[in-house]
């Protein structure tokens, strides 16, 4: 079943969306990472556009895409039944609550469940898409998660120009040159959640040059 799901997602992302993003929209990749053989791993990226998830997913290799889940906000991506179904099955997302008082499971516990299963996560620690080309401070969740799992590699990704193609609040996609820069998988050096968050933020930012 997992294999079937991986094939389905690979055809959508690794072939169709990859072709459109590369040749029509104009997203170019810089240095492919040395992918781990299997999960768990955490992909950490900056966030300006819905395209960010698409661009990352389109470059995940065949063997890993079935077990890679973007982590998304349930209040946005689970608004109604259809969106919930779409997010779960087509985006392969894990829906977490953003605010403490919202109903549902503790986000860290939910993500831990998937890591324990050996799955990969895509996390945008900025929390929301924000203004184009502006990096917001990273939220602490990623630090807490990696403090709990210090032996899991994280892969930093820097996305540039996506906010110009499909900015927040716009429905129309307009092709522009954009780049996706991959860092190599590495382990966190810091030990406390705050330091880990800062370290990862720095690693993502380091890819911007």
């Amino acid at each position: 079943m997992d294999k079937l799901r991986g094939t389905f997602l690979y055809v959508i992302y690794g072939m169709v969306i990859k072709f459109v993003l590369r040749w029509i929209v104009g997203i170019q990749a810089k240095n492919q990472p040395h992918w781990p053989e299997s999960g768990p791993f955490i992909i950490v990226a900056n966030h300006n556009s819905h395209l960010d998830t698409m661009a990352i997913m389109s470059m995940i290799p065949y063997g890993l895409i079935g077990i890679t889940h973007p982590v998304a906000a349930s209040d946005y991506f689970g608004k109604n039944k259809w969106q919930f179904y779409f997010s779960k099955n087509i985006i392969n997302a894990i829906l977490i609550k953003r605010k403490k008082d919202d109903p549902g499971q503790n986000p860290i516990e939910l993500m831990s469940k998937f890591i324990d299963k050996g799955h990969g996560l895509i996390i945008f620690p900025e929390g929301s898409r924000g203004e184009p080309q502006v990096l917001q401070p990273f939220k602490k969740g990623i630090g807490i998660l990696l403090e709990k799992y210090p032996n899991i590699p994280y892969i930093p990704v820097y996305l540039h120009g996506m906010g110009k193609i499909l900015p927040k609040g716009e429905k129309l996609l307009v092709p522009f040159q954009a780049t996706i820069t991959w860092g190599n998988p590495s382990l966190v050096k810091a030990t406390s959640a705050d330091e880990i968050t800062a370290e990862i933020e720095q690693q993502v930012l380091a890819l911007s040059v």
């Binding site: 040749w23 104009g26 170019q28 110009k164 716009e170 129309l172 092709p175 522009f176 040159q177």
Partner: protein, 316 residues
């Protein structure tokens, strides 16, 4: 014959084999040179040669396959060129994103006119219709701050990237006739080969003999020696490849000479735009060469000029 491969004249195969020999020779030369005396320049030349292999393959596919596929390829090249230019342009406002989409929608229409050989639609769609449509859409949007820039830059960029490349698409679909033995694809091959070789010739002559700069403020590498050397070499090559064109004994000397000059002008035109924006390359699509616009800059004018000389003489 397979429906997807067009029945080509032997002239085309002969030219493509000549290209193959040049590429093999260049690859061998730079590989050996790199082995004996490695330097950054040789490494870059080798990277560029590898890219030439890729680009030549695409050209061969455009010329050899069914024109519908060739026209599709050319339209994607146009789209990429327009995207490169509009992405780096500083005269396009953030508010123009909804208008830029009209430019992208114009690309398939323009290439459809070309493929259908509808000359009137092809020649008026961008210079007349889009030149009215884009400004009126901008006006409807109502954002008047700096609107003049957008009104002129957007259609202008469409002209430079889409209108020009679509001339190759129109030529590609011209059928074989008694005066045009190699057909339209022969002419496309002629323009592409000659334009790119002219770039190489001008580069080589300039590197070896270059002294007197033509436009030092725009492109410091362009010298009179390179231009004149390229002019003469290209004219000779153009004459030698004359069998791909319908031109007679005088025009076959004049046309390559004009192409050489047109290529130079296209080159410095794009250089000037790059200098204005403050970038060295328009992108990094082609290893060793930079962006697509860096490579096809001279083609933007040669394709148009060549087409209209042909059309004036043989279709008038």
């Amino acid at each position: 014959m397979n429906a997807w491969i067009r029945p080509n004249h032997p002239f085309i195969y002969q030219t493509l084999i000549a290209v193959l020999i040049i590429l093999c020779f260049a690859t061998l030369l730079f590989s050996i040179w790199k082995k004996i005396k490695p330097s950054p320049l040789v490494s870059e030349m080798l990277t560029r040669t590898y890219s030439w292999w890729g680009m030549s393959t695409i050209v061969a596919l455009i010329v050899l396959l069914h024109p519908a596929l060739g026209v599709t390829f050319l339209s994607i090249i146009s789209l990429s060129a327009f995207r490169e230019l509009s992405s780096m342009s500083k005269n396009i406002r953030a508010a123009d994103r909804n208008i830029i989409i009209w430019c992208y929608l114009a690309i398939p229409v323009q290439f459809a006119w070309a493929y259908l050989q509808n000359f009137h639609g092809f020649i008026t769609f961008i210079p007349v219709f889009m030149f009215i449509w884009i400004p009126i859409m901008l006006v409807m949007k109502g954002e008047t701050q700096d609107i003049g820039k957008s009104m002129s830059v957007l259609p202008g960029e469409l002209m430079l990237t889409v209108f020009s490349i679509s001339h190759l698409a129109y030529m590609l679909t011209i059928p074989i006739s008694p005066q045009l033995l190699a057909g339209g694809s022969g002419m496309v091959l002629y323009v592409l080969f000659l334009t790119e070789m002219n770039d190489v010739f001008q580069f080589c002559w300039g590197k070896v003999f270059g002294k007197h700069k033509i436009v030092p403020k725009v492109s410091p590498n362009k010298t009179w020696e390179g231009l004149i050397g390229g002019f003469i070499t290209t004219s000779i090559l153009g004459y030698a490849l004359g069998f791909l064109t319908p031109f007679g004994k005088y025009m076959i000397w004049i046309v390559p000479a004009i192409l050489s000059i047109a290529g130079f002008i296209g080159d410095v035109m794009v250089s000037a735009i790059k200098r204005d924006v403050g970038v060295k390359d328009t992108g990094n699509l082609i290893p060793g060469h930079g962006g697509l616009m860096d490579r096809i800059d001279s083609l933007l004018l040669t394709s148009v000029v060549f087409f209209h000389i042909y059309y004036a003489l043989y279709h008038g």
